[in-house]
Point group: C2
Chain length 152, copies 2
């Protein structure tokens, strides 16, 4: 239906129709990004015989989606990613702008390569689940503890 | 052996000997409290169908003790305590002195009543495990997430 409309709007030009569809898709994702996410789950993952632990809060729009396997698997995967890849910040916006020692791709969870599929970012993985469940999804916070990494 | 020495020191007076033993015991616990704790475990506990999560780092002196059931059970119990009782600070020292709205017994993990045995504090529970395993034990940090408790 979207395709037909786009083709009509593009007066039959396929290239133009594809451009219209792409813009519509982005618009739809943007619209979802504005929707408030008050439901969700807390997930934790303990690694390396109890020496590393990660905990994450992942939010969605409804309790219904929070209970789906797709959503729970995403939360579990994110906890594993945090344990393995030790991100310092959630997103580029949270990382200090002025610090040149920071490599955003390594330090920011959403920009990191997905350990399960290094060709895509964690944000790509989240976007995929957004497409599957049809709700906005946000990672709101995470914590990662490693034995002895904090001064006592 | 300690008892005999104490009785000799107290010249046969039982009351005095008990006092000496008590002081020795406190001294021993204090000595342990100075020992560095670089080993330990990270433990996590997820509650209420994924709506509440707690993670804690508990440290001891050796990897050997970190692998014992006593120690692992303490860590698990502390994670459950944190999930259930929502402490804000680790100890009295970490809580802001000037804030009169804070009830230390409710806000500080180590001062809270143990959910399993409300007559004693969490510090008492930790001291009991210290006595069992013969090593200093410290809780160095914890985190508690509840879905939607953070502004998005």
């Amino acid at each position: 239906m979207d395709c037909r409309k786009a083709l009509m709007e593009a007066e039959g030009e396929t290239e133009k129709a594809l451009q219209i569809l792409k813009e519509q898709g982005l618009l739809r994702a943007k619209k979802k990004a504005e929707r408030s996410t008050t439901q969700g789950v807390i997930e934790a993952y303990i690694h390396a015989g109890g020496r590393i632990g990660a905990m994450v809060e992942v939010n969605c729009e409804t309790d219904f989606v929070a209970r789906t396997n797709e959503f729970k698997e995403l939360a579990h995967h994110l906890a594993m990613q945090i344990a393995a890849m030790n991100p310092k910040f959630l997103s580029r916006e949270e990382a200090p702008e002025e610090d040149e020692d920071i490599d955003p791709q390594a330090a920011c969870l959403l920009l990191q390569s997905d350990i399960r599929d290094p060709d895509r970012s964690i944000q790509d993985t989240i976007d995929e689940t957004i497409a599957k469940v049809g709700e906005n999804i946000r990672v709101s916070r995470f914590a990662r503890f490693e034995v002895g990494s904090q001064k006592s």
